[in-house]
């Protein structure tokens, strides 16, 4: 056992240990719990950054041990995994800070933070999983650990949302299991590496491989909120703001999208999947989801629900980029894993701030919030403009790469999707911004709490401001090493796409 072996385990287990510690704490020990949470988050972040340098230098980090004959438990840090675990550890830190501020004086905080840490454990496990089996393990653990977070409020609405969520994700998990087991039966344990196993199979297996691909994507598509199975996401937004933020930005939705990336990129291989002819229909589905989510978002009055439909739309950019069979578009899709996370977490933090500080939950109550909560509103505006794809913000980088990549691959229809989606995004975000900045306050705030006389509680204000800063930095400094874009390009180069 040396550092190269232990590091992936350490990264996964920091938040796991934190979860155990937090579960054991009595409810009122909030200071100790805060220390636990933040220390674990910082340690994890430090470890991930350390591995990041290592991976860039080409050091293999791998931990494996056989569970039964032929099935291994593998944690491995490759460029793609590091990108995703980097995202989740950074955002975990800020979400933890936010959640501590958000849940001040509310009941059941131990339960909440325990499952919260567990949720991050599973996310990082998903990121570092080295084979399909390990991935599946953490994927299901994620389902189970997020359920208590979704129903945290314990209201009837929350419980119903939780039930819908479980039905969707467990069914998705079952379908995924079918796919995983099918592949296992066919070729044994499948590790995420340069995909060589499946492409080398005889051509008569192609129909079977296509069916298995469809099963895998259907299973993963539930969490990624692809078109026919996106229904749980807008319902699950009843969860507390930090949960929604994490759910939409890194944990659940992203885990689904990340899984699809793994399957296409590391199991089938982009080239082989393209030859099988499964990518093009998936791309069309992603395009349809992008437009559908945006159209539905237009008519939502509940702020978080509007954001939820926006997630349905935006996460499909990742899938779209994957399906175009062009390295540039692939980089655009991969980088959107990070960019969408940064922008959407900012928006949800801000939505939470409006709800917590002023009691504002609906779009038509937002009039004049810009004057009352300027800093929060600036962060929200940055996130919203980023979603529209206005430069120089993160969303633009994605759009530019996807557009150029799509044209390289000869898929001109993607431009139509991108432009239409941008216009729709503008159509549902700009009215919000108009209300925030340009309308006077008409009625008293529904439930105002004086958390601070300038804006809101600093613990609630700092995270969205920092993530909004990241949204700008990710685009303005896109060309520098360690920018998300650079990492996406590293992943693409190492993946060996033509």
């Amino acid at each position: 056992m040396d550092g190269q072996t232990l590091l992936p385990v350490a990264v996964v287990s920091t938040s796991f240990l934190a979860a155990i510690g937090i579960f054991l704490l009595r409810e009122h020990r909030h200071r100790l719990r805060g220390i636990f949470n933040l220390t674990a988050a910082l340690v994890k972040l430090a470890l991930v950054v350390w591995m990041q340098f290592g991976v860039l230098a080409g050091i293999p980090y791998e931990f494996r041990f056989p569970l039964v004959q032929g099935v291994h438990f593998i944690l491995r840090a490759d460029a793609l995994g590091i990108m995703f675990s980097g995202l989740s550890s950074v955002l975990w830190l800020f979400t933890t800070i936010y959640a501590i501020g958000y849940l001040e004086d509310s009941p059941n905080r131990s339960r909440f933070f325990g499952f919260f840490s567990l949720c991050v454990t599973s996310t990082v496990g998903i990121a570092l999983a080295g084979n399909l089996f390990t991935f599946f393990l953490f994927y299901e653990l994620l389902t189970l650990s997020t359920y208590p977070l979704v129903v945290h409020r314990g209201t009837e609405k929350a419980l119903r949302a939780g039930r819908v969520y479980l039905i969707y994700t467990l069914c998705g998990g079952a379908v995924l299991l079918l796919g995983v087991a099918g592949l296992h039966g066919l070729v044994g344990d499948i590790e995420f590496a340069k995909a060589t196993v499946l492409p080398s199979l005889a051509p008569e297996y192609s129909p079977l491989l296509i069916v298995l691909f469809m099963l895998l994507i259907a299973g993963l598509g539930v969490k990624a909120a692809l078109l026919p199975v996106h229904g749980w996401l807008p319902i699950a937004m009843v969860a507390p703001a930090p949960v929604s933020a994490l759910l939409h930005a890194v944990a659940v939705v992203k885990a689904g999208a990340f899984g699809i990336v793994r399957v296409v990129h590391d199991v089938y291989g982009v080239e082989f999947a393209w030859r099988l002819g499964v990518l093009e229909p998936l791309g069309w589905l992603a395009g349809a989801t992008i437009l559908y989510g945006s159209v539905r978002a237009l008519s939502q009055n509940d702020l978080k629900r509007r954001l939820a439909f926006s997630t349905v739309s935006q996460v499909s950019y990742v899938v779209l980029g994957l399906c175009l069979f062009s390295p540039v578009a692939l980089a655009g899709g991969l980088v959107h894993l990070v960019h969408q996370g940064l922008m959407k977490i900012t928006l949800f933090f801000c939505a939470g701030n409006y709800a917590e500080t002023l009691g504002v939950h609906h779009v038509d109550e937002l009039d004049g919030t810009g004057r009352r909560m300027p800093a929060t509103s600036i962060a929200f505006s940055i996130g919203a403009f980023g979603m529209i794809g206005v430069p120089p913000l993160a969303g633009f980088v994605t759009k530019w790469y996807l557009g150029i990549g799509a044209l390289e691959a000869g898929a001109g229809w993607v431009i139509v999707v991108l432009v239409a989606s941008s216009i729709l995004n503008a159509a549902y975000f700009l009215p919000i911004l108009h209300r925030i900045w340009f309308r006077p306050q008409v009625s008293p705030w529904p439930e105002e709490q004086f958390l601070s006389h300038r804006d809101t509680h600093p613990w609630l204000l700092l995270p969205p401001l920092i993530t909004a800063g990241f949204c700008i930095a990710a685009a303005v400094f896109a060309g520098l090493t360690f920018s998300p874009l650079h990492w996406a390009e590293v992943v693409v180069t190492r993946g060996g796409l033509p």
């Binding site: 155990i20 009595r26 409810e27 041990f65 131990s110 229904g231 430069p391 991108l418 432009v419 503008a426």
Partner: protein, 578 residues
């Protein structure tokens, strides 16, 4: 100015407004920022006056590798843009003294200015688009400054059109950039050549023509102009009409394949569109009842002439080397004259009655310039005419283009007459302050004589204002004046609404929207089965919450122990594992 200073200026011109914007957010610095706001355009003015062309600043760490530079064409555009921002900014300073929304106006002002300078100085496509988008979105804040219903409606129309325009522009840029050597970091200068060879050439040209056309007031996407100009505060109208409209022209000149390939169909279509705007703008404009609306239609009309010039460039590539500077000069002259005229609306409301006649004469100067026989206007008009005359070759209709230009000048004259008449009818209002006089005076001076006094303006051979062109310039004005006098005696103005065709749109839009909603509703009903579940499950008992903390604690402890056990097993297994 040496190279270092030029480089510094290139960076400072777009950055300074943004820096001021940031400083404004610090309450302690706010009063200083307020004083400095109008002066934020000064680095750009200095850059124009003393900078070196051909100098290029590489900012490879920015975006996908950004670069700023100034060439001769940029210099002309930057010149009038910066002067306009400076003059109108000074004017706005006086206007904002007792304005409760002064802060919001200044922020929008600075952001729009930064975007405008960035797009002019950008070398690469992405930086150009950054500037364009910043300008587009920030201008909304200027338009709706008063927050009254007209302004909000104008702002909404503007924003819808602008976003559609942005969509077309980004589509065009993507399509064109993907054909350049380095698609992700494409240079603006490579775009025209890429458009020329692109498989979807006509599509790209259409995207650019309409996308930038929203700003440039091309007919059918022009409706925001006559709505926004009267609704926006006077200095905002001045920069919108003087500088932002020209950004559309700049976009055309930077992206369309001029001088590379003959596009007769496009050329003919664009020339026709241009003259439709030129005459249509004048016809509708003379019936307007607000001075600023008249000016807005005059802008549409003037941009129509420029559009016709653009069409000529598409039709005859050989003309372009001479046409580009001529169009830039025209933009220069129109931008500044229009700025002076807009600020004049505010100045004319000045109370002192004995001043009034002299003031009125001063206001007429940029108007005369716009119509032709004043120094700057003469240079601009004659340049354009000479270039178009040089192109008389193949089609017979081409020889009528110079005549059409003269006829358009008749329309301009009547519009200016209408404007001056409306000003003379206006009620005197609040006094304006010294700094406002300064801003207006600056624009007045440069708009009348700027083109021959400013040393760096490129001269087209043979066009110092020569008396032989004088009759050509004067007869349309005389005819226009006679027409205007006759019309004011014998005709009554028709009630053409501001924004003319816009009244059709809400009805059409409502129809389309209702239809879409109906379709969507049907589709959703078909797909969303969970609605039924929701109705069935109404009677779930309300409170299944686990409230007793003891039970909670036990549950959590058990869970924790299970996890700890799992971890221990995992660790032991991994240690035992070789």
């Amino acid at each position: 100015m040496n190279a270092t200073m030029t480089a510094f200026g290139l960076v400072l011109a777009p950055i300074l407004p943004l820096l001021l914007l940031l400083f404004w957010c610090v309450p302690a610095l706010r009063p200083r920022v307020e004083v400095l706001t109008p002066w934020a355009a000064v680095p750009a003015v200095l850059l124009v006056l003393f900078g070196e062309t051909g100098m290029r600043v590489e900012l490879s760490w920015l975006l996908f590798g950004s670069a700023l530079a100034m060439d001769t064409l940029t210099r002309v555009f930057l010149a009038f843009t910066a002067l306009l921002w400076l003059g109108a900014g000074l004017y706005s300073q006086g206007m904002l003294v007792n304005d409760e929304r002064a802060g919001s106006f200044r922020l929008a002002w600075l952001a729009t200015m930064a975007g405008n300078f960035t797009l002019l100085l950008a070398v690469d496509v992405v930086t150009f688009y950054v500037g364009f988008a910043l300008m587009t979105f920030a201008a909304y804040g200027l338009i709706i400054h008063s927050r009254d219903p007209e302004a909000l409606f104008a702002g909404r129309v503007y924003l819808i059109m602008a976003i559609l325009g942005e969509g077309l522009i980004i589509a065009g840029l993507l399509l064109a950039a993907s054909r350049t050597a380095a698609p992700l970091a494409a240079m603006l200068a490579d775009i025209p050549a890429a458009v020329m060879d692109a498989p979807y050439r006509d599509l790209i040209i259409a995207c650019f023509f309409l996308g930038f056309g929203v700003k440039a007031g091309v007919p059918l996407v022009h409706m925001w102009l006559p709505l926004a100009h009267p609704a926006a505060p006077t200095p905002a109208s001045a920069v919108l009409s003087g500088a932002m409209i020209k950004a559309g022209l700049f976009g055309w000149m930077a992206t369309l394949p001029f001088g590379l390939v003959a596009l007769p169909q496009w050329g003919l279509g664009v020339i026709t569109t241009g003259f439709v705007a030129a005459f249509g703008g004048a016809l509708i404009g003379v019936h307007q009842r607000k001075a600023k609306t008249v000016l807005a239609y005059s802008s549409i009309s003037q941009m129509g002439l420029i559009t016709a010039g653009i069409g000529a460039g598409l039709y005859q590539p050989a003309l372009w080397p001479a046409l580009a500077p001529a169009l830039a000069l025209y933009a220069f002259h129109h931008g500044l004259a229009k700025g002076a005229l807009f600020l004049g609306v505010g100045v004319a409301n000045q109370a002192a009655a004995h001043w009034r006649f002299g003031l009125w004469l001063a206001l007429a100067l940029p108007g005369l310039s716009l119509a032709g026989p004043m120094v700057s206007g003469a240079v601009a008009k004659v340049s354009l005419k000479i270039v178009l005359e040089a192109g008389i070759a193949t089609p017979t209709w081409w020889r009528y283009l110079p005549l059409l230009l003269s006829l358009a000048a008749i329309g301009t004259t009547t519009l200016i007459a209408r404007y001056l008449w409306l000003l003379s009818q206006s009620e005197p209002r609040a006094k304006i302050s010294g700094i406002q006089w300064l801003g207006w005076g600056l624009l007045l001076a440069v708009s009348v004589v700027g083109l021959i006094l400013l040393p760096w303006v490129p001269t087209i051979s043979g066009i110092p204002p020569d008396p032989i062109y004088l009759p050509d310039l004067i007869w349309p004005v005389l005819v226009g004046l006679v027409l205007a006098v006759c019309a004011s005696r014998f005709l009554r103005s028709w009630p053409v609404p501001e924004g003319d065709l816009i009244i059709v749109f809400p009805m059409a839009a409502r129809g389309v929207w209702n239809f879409l909603q109906y379709v969507l509703l049907k589709v959703t009903h078909f797909f969303i089965w969970r609605r039924q579940i929701r109705h069935q499950r109404k009677s779930v008992e309300a409170d299944t919450r686990l409230e007793r903390s003891d039970v909670e604690y036990l549950l959590r402890r058990n869970a924790a122990l299970v996890f700890a056990l799992l971890l221990a097993v995992g660790l032991i297994a991994s240690i035992l594992n070789p």
